[in-house]
């Protein structure tokens, strides 16, 4: 799996590269529009991370070029702009996803996996880890090939963890992901804990070989049992 990162901030570029290399991707980088364009026309990538604000041009121009070349490969825009208009514009031009800075690395990894899966499996979009499989669109979950029942909120939790296996997920991040934005004033995350406890019980009851573990009271991690 080859990924191209087009990002002018070198420190940020390094973080992205290291993270993705840890995930066993082959990573190439381009710091500006010109280099990005050369790499895009010479090679094919499974996924491209594109920053819109480049020193020598607008990243959306690169997106247009890419679409004209009719190359395969997914593209995720990473940008400091996060208005709906910006997102709509990017997605209209053919980007597969739009991530506004700042984002969590776990989020980025999950999104990359998701877009690559969408492109490769042609509609088949199951997310799986261990013997648990989930369909993000039909909300169905299978454990060991057997379909199981769970509530909508439980499904959201499970899916969120399945997309980020082995990564530490912060409690506040989790709350934000499930209940929506603006959690700047919550002083008690008991409601997150209640849901996790519930989900743990279910996973154990279904005989799943994965479990959610607490990490030093600050977050949770999905691991193989």
């Amino acid at each position: 799996m080859k990924i191209l990162i087009i990002e002018d901030d070198l420190s940020f570029q390094e973080i992205l590269r290291k993270t993705l290399e840890q995930e066993r991707y082959v990573v190439e980088v381009a710091p500006d529009y010109r280099t990005g364009l050369i790499k895009l026309s010479d090679y094919t990538y499974d996924c491209i991370l594109l920053d819109i604000n480049l020193p020598d041009g607008n990243g959306l121009g690169l997106l247009r070029e890419l679409k004209e070349m009719k190359k395969s490969g997914s593209l995720i825009i990473i940008s400091a702009r996060d208005t709906i208009e910006d997102k709509v514009e990017g997605l209209d031009l053919g980007a597969d996803d739009y991530l506004a800075k700042p984002f969590h690395l776990a989020e980025l990894v999950a999104r990359i996996k998701s877009v690559i899966r969408r492109n490769n499996q042609g509609g088949e979009q199951l997310v799986s880890y261990g013997n648990v499989k989930a369909n993000p669109h039909s909300f169905d979950v299978w454990v060991d090939g057997k379909m199981v029942e769970l509530s909508r909120k439980e499904f959201d939790f499970l899916l969120y963890f399945l997309q980020r296996p082995t990564r530490l997920v912060n409690k506040s991040t989790l709350a934000e992901a499930i209940w929506g934005d603006h959690f700047d004033d919550v002083d008690n995350y008991d409601f997150v804990y209640a849901q996790i406890k519930n989900l743990r019980k279910r996973l154990a009851a279904w005989g799943a070989d994965i479990e959610i573990v607490a990490v030093y009271g600050m977050g949770y991690k999905l691991v193989l049992r």
Partner: protein, 427 residues
């Protein structure tokens, strides 16, 4: 006190003094003039009497219809020493024709006969009619004085009001001025001072607008520029936390760092959001039903704040539907509800009222009535040390209301903090 009233008031006294002095002077000059005339007549009369008396002619009868009377008596040399040769005086005399005493002008003249004896002639003429004329003149003068005073005041007030009109237009313009909403000053005048005032006011407002605009842009730009460095910080900490060799205490410290960083990121995001609202970047408007938004937000928040044990009561008296930006309305409702949860006391209550054109959220709380002047200011915190509030929630609510032509009001009734959002009747 209005400028016109002030000017008129300070005009009354000098005018009264000037007109008063003028009237008094007028009165005295006129009455002097009248008496002078009487004196002249008396002189002529007395000369005639003396001539007739000295030449032995027949003296006029006292009943000759003139009401003038006279008598002549001899005076001793002693007396001569004290009396003046010619002397005038006012005196009441008995007038036979009217059978009563009347005011009169009296003239005494001392003269000498050929035989060396001294005589004193006294002639008198009643001045009753002349006194009447004088009092009529006095009344007329006073009436004239009052009328003139009133007329001068009236004219002055009219001229003053007419000429200060541009001043009031400038004042009204300044009163209705709202920062960020520039309006041209419509104040046509050919008075140099007012033209200068217009120019100064316009230039001053222009500068305020410029500073405000720059500040607004600065906040937006600064928040925007902070995004990438913040992302780098956060992601580096995340990378570090993936390191399996870290000890538990290191991990916990990193966790705290990450927590603070996410607070910073949220704060920055909120500032950016605020700046976007103020820049009117949420232009798309659709029909939004506040009741629906409210139900959705209450569902989420009641789950999040379960631990506080707050009793939420919803009173829906109507469907509140308005044309607005859906994203902003969600943020507005969510901010107000979260505010009600956050500043509530444990086991408190939240009462939500919805009518066809208003939404009211009343919550119990430990704090007394809030400072209405600063309540909606950025970073205003009623109680210090509220750890999980960035003090921007109400600023956002206010900014959304302003951008959506809604009014937001705060009141404190019966130990409850009440925030009301309603359709602004001015629009």
């Amino acid at each position: 006190m209005k400028l016109t009233t002030h000017a008129i008031r300070s005009l009354i006294l000098p005018l009264l003094l000037i007109f008063g002095a003028w009237s008094v002077a007028f009165y005295f000059i006129l009455s002097d003039e009248l008496i002078d005339e009487v004196d002249d007549q008396l002189e002529v009369y007395s000369e005639r009497i003396m001539r007739q008396w000295l030449t032995g002619e027949v003296l006029p009868d006292s009943t000759d219809g003139t009401n003038n009377t006279y008598y002549i008596r001899q005076i001793s040399s002693d007396e001569l020493a004290i009396v003046k040769r010619v002397e005038y005086e006012f005196k009441n005399i008995y007038v036979a024709a009217s059978l009563e005493e009347e005011p009169a002008r009296v003239m005494h003249t001392v003269f000498e006969r050929a035989d060396g004896t001294c005589w004193r002639l006294t002639v008198m003429t009643p001045i009753y009619e002349r006194n009447e004329v004088i009092s009529t003149i006095l009344v007329a003068t006073l009436v004239l004085l009052v009328i003139m005073l009133l007329v001068v005041m009236g004219v002055f007030a009219w001229v003053f009001v007419r000429h200060t009109r541009p001043l009031y237009r400038v004042l009204n313009h300044l009163d209705s001025y709202a920062i960020g909403k520039r309006q041209a000053l419509d104040n046509d005048t050919d008075v140099t001072e007012f033209q200068r005032l217009n120019e100064s006011v316009t230039a001053c407002l222009e500068r305020i607008e410029e500073v405000y605009e720059r500040e607004r842009r600065f906040i937006g730009d600064a928040s925007h520029e902070l995004q990438t460095p913040l992302a780098i910080c956060q992601n580096r900490v995340e990378m570090l936390m993936e390191d399996e060799t870290l000890t538990e205490s290191q991990m916990i410290e990193l966790g705290k760092l990450q927590q603070t960083l996410s607070e910073l990121i949220r704060l920055n995001k909120t500032l950016l959001f605020l700046s976007k609202i103020e820049n009117n970047q949420y232009i798309e408007r659709t029909e939004v039903n506040i009741n629906t938004t409210l139900h959705l937000q209450l569902e989420v928040l009641s789950e999040v704040y379960t631990s506080k044990g707050i009793d939420v009561r919803l009173y829906e008296k109507g469907q509140y539907t308005l044309m607005a930006n859906a994203e902003l309305m969600t943020a507005l409702v969510s901010n107000l509800l979260r505010n009600a949860y956050l500043h509530n006391k444990p086991q408190g209550t939240i009462d939500v009222y919805v009518t066809e054109n208003a939404l009211s959220i009343a919550n119990t709380g430990d704090e007394p009535s809030l400072d209405t002047k600063r309540l909606f200011d950025r970073f205003y915190k009623a109680t210090h040390g509220k750890k999980h509030s960035n003090g921007l929630g109400l600023s956002i609510a206010k900014a959304i209301c302003e951008a959506s032509h809604l009014a937001i009001l705060y009141s404190y009734e019966g130990d409850k903090h009440i925030f009301t959002v309603c359709t602004d009747k001015k629009d």
